[in-house]
Amino acid sequence: MSNTANALPSASGVQAIADKRATMNTQRLLRWLSYLLTALLVVIFLFPWLWVFTLGFKSRTEILSPQIVWIWTPTLDNLKEVLLVKGYWRLIINSLIVAVSAVGLCIIIGVPAAYAFSRFPIPGKESWFYMILTFRMAPAVILALPLYIIFGRLKLLGTYFSPILAHTTFTLPFVIWLMRSFFEDIPKEIDAAAMTDGYTRFGAFYHAVLPLVKSGIVAVTLFSIIFSWNEFLYGLILTSDATRPVASQIPSLVRPHGTLWGEVCALATVASIPVAVLIFALQRQLVRGLSFGAVKG
């Protein structure tokens, strides 16, 4: 696909030189085109965020003006207002608590389970996977109502437990599914070698195999944190104002009339920074994580 302009062999030397020059020109043209396209793509994909980012630092009049102003004096008022005065910095902490707890729990119990799925003959393996996949792909709404009822009965609504447990509904399947594909990449002989060397099955898992999937575990963890951080519905329904994650609160700030855009944008920006950082940390593993491990990056 990349060699669209190859020099074809030709009869005479002169012809060859002319061909070469034409080829070089075409190649140069194509290279400029691809630079242009790259720049275009970068603009398309970065610009909206940057614009919204800047809105967080503009005053109300500046935002609402129909002229798009590129140079202005940034103000930290929105940031201060939304984070400190309104105390929404707590939302960020909530998101952190929920994400880290849910993901931590799922990693601790999910990684061994994934190993077991990879190494042991488990009855009904196919059915388990099918169920895992189904619930991963089901709309959050499906479980939202029953979870609300159940947590209500257990008097857990408004605590951190509810959103954490709710988040495991999509985190655990993801961890197991993806970690299993990582474990499948490790030859089973490594396990055998460690076991004949005197390590028990768990010892082989912990000392021989686990170090080999370290990068996989990191990737799964970071991905899961992103998904948990981004989650909206469970965070809205199962929490109180004190325990609500930031993603669940933002839509409530967007009203048909009188929305304080500056503050909302400032909050959204702050909420997005951790995720953006994680995305860049995950560069190599992005494809595998997104496609359920079906495709290797």
Binding site: S34, I109, P146, L147, L290
Partner: protein, 292 residues
């Protein structure tokens, strides 16, 4: 291998899974046969058999929700497939640049959906939005996009496409990079032009990746919620009320537990049928990506 040893590895996950997923599911199943609503004093949890399902069958809004979902899904997936393919092809030709591009392009996919919805809302705002202003001024769209019953759904499609096209592109890109060189060399020797090469060589080889990507997008289409919630709340009227929003309305605005539970059951059946295909695709083509 001692029998029963396996359980130590799997038990905690199994317990969590059953507790947090199966138990709610069964709860929903039982509630679907009862009438229970916080807003309807006659519905106190009595057993009503298939009444909820019957009501669902005659609920115009239910069909509307499906209609809206399909009206959004079909153009969205089609556009995303085509644009994703183009993007993927372009990037496969400039691999080094692609490496920097990929994380940037995946920002819409991985950043918080509600924030994307926010970006969409702001961009399309007719008073100060980057797209909204030109659309409004040029007279193309006379009203606020998100308040228009004709343009709200296309706006949703636009934002969804912005969010997910990179996902499709990246999957196809990794597929393209994993393709063997031999068929291309053979095509070159045979003198095929780029178009022929694309349709006869690339497409058949890339097909598994495309199928996986599109299946994921189709099933995901039923999960769409956050974007619509932020941008239109399902309005105006019910023009953007996709299945998830519709269910939310009955569950958490009308607090109709029985009816909502019946919806859950029906939706779940629907999803599991689709996942059947996705599962087959993923497990057959699990080897598709492993040529690299």
């Amino acid at each position: 291998m001692k029998k029963g040893y396996i359980w130590w590895w799997v038990l905690p996950s199994a317990i969590l899974f059953l507790g947090i997923i199966l138990v709610p599911f069964i709860t929903a199943a039982t509630y679907s046969f009862r009438a229970l609503s916080f807003t309807d004093s006659t519905a106190q949890g009595q057993f009503v058999g298939l009444d909820n399902y019957r009501r669902l069958v005659f609920d115009k809004d239910f069909y509307n929700a499906f209609k809206v979902t399909f009206l959004y899904m079909i153009p969205a997936v089609a556009i995303q497939a085509i644009l994703g393919m183009i993007l993927g092809l372009v990037m496969s030709g400039a691999v080094r640049r692609a490496r920097i591009l990929v994380p940037i392009m995946l920002l819409p996919t991985l950043l918080t959906p509600v924030v994307i919805g926010l970006v969409g809302t702001l961009t399309l705002n007719p008073d100060f939005g980057v797209l909204g202003i030109p659309l409004n001024r040029s007279g193309l769209i006379k009203e606020a996009v998100l308040g228009s019953s004709t343009w709200a759904l296309p706006a949703i499609i636009l934002v969804d496409t912005y969010q997910w096209t990179p996902f499709v592109a990246v999957i196809l890109l990794s597929g393209l990079l994993a393709l063997p060189k031999e068929p291309y060399e053979a095509a070159q020797v045979d003198g095929a032009n780029p178009l022929q090469t694309f349709f006869r060589v690339t497409m058949p080889l890339l097909w598994p990746y495309l199928v996986v990507a599109m299946l994921i997008r189709v099933i995901d289409a039923f999960r769409i919620f956050d974007i619509i919630w932020v941008m239109t709340r399902g309005g105006p009227g019910t023009t953007t009320e996709a299945v998830g929003i519709y269910a939310y309305r009955h569950m958490f605005r009308y607090w109709d537990m029985g009816y909502g539970s019946a919806m859950i059951m029906v939706l779940f059946l629907f999803i599991s049928i689709m996942v059947e295909y996705l599962y087959k695709a993923l497990t057959t083509w699990q080897g598709a990506g492993e040529t690299a």
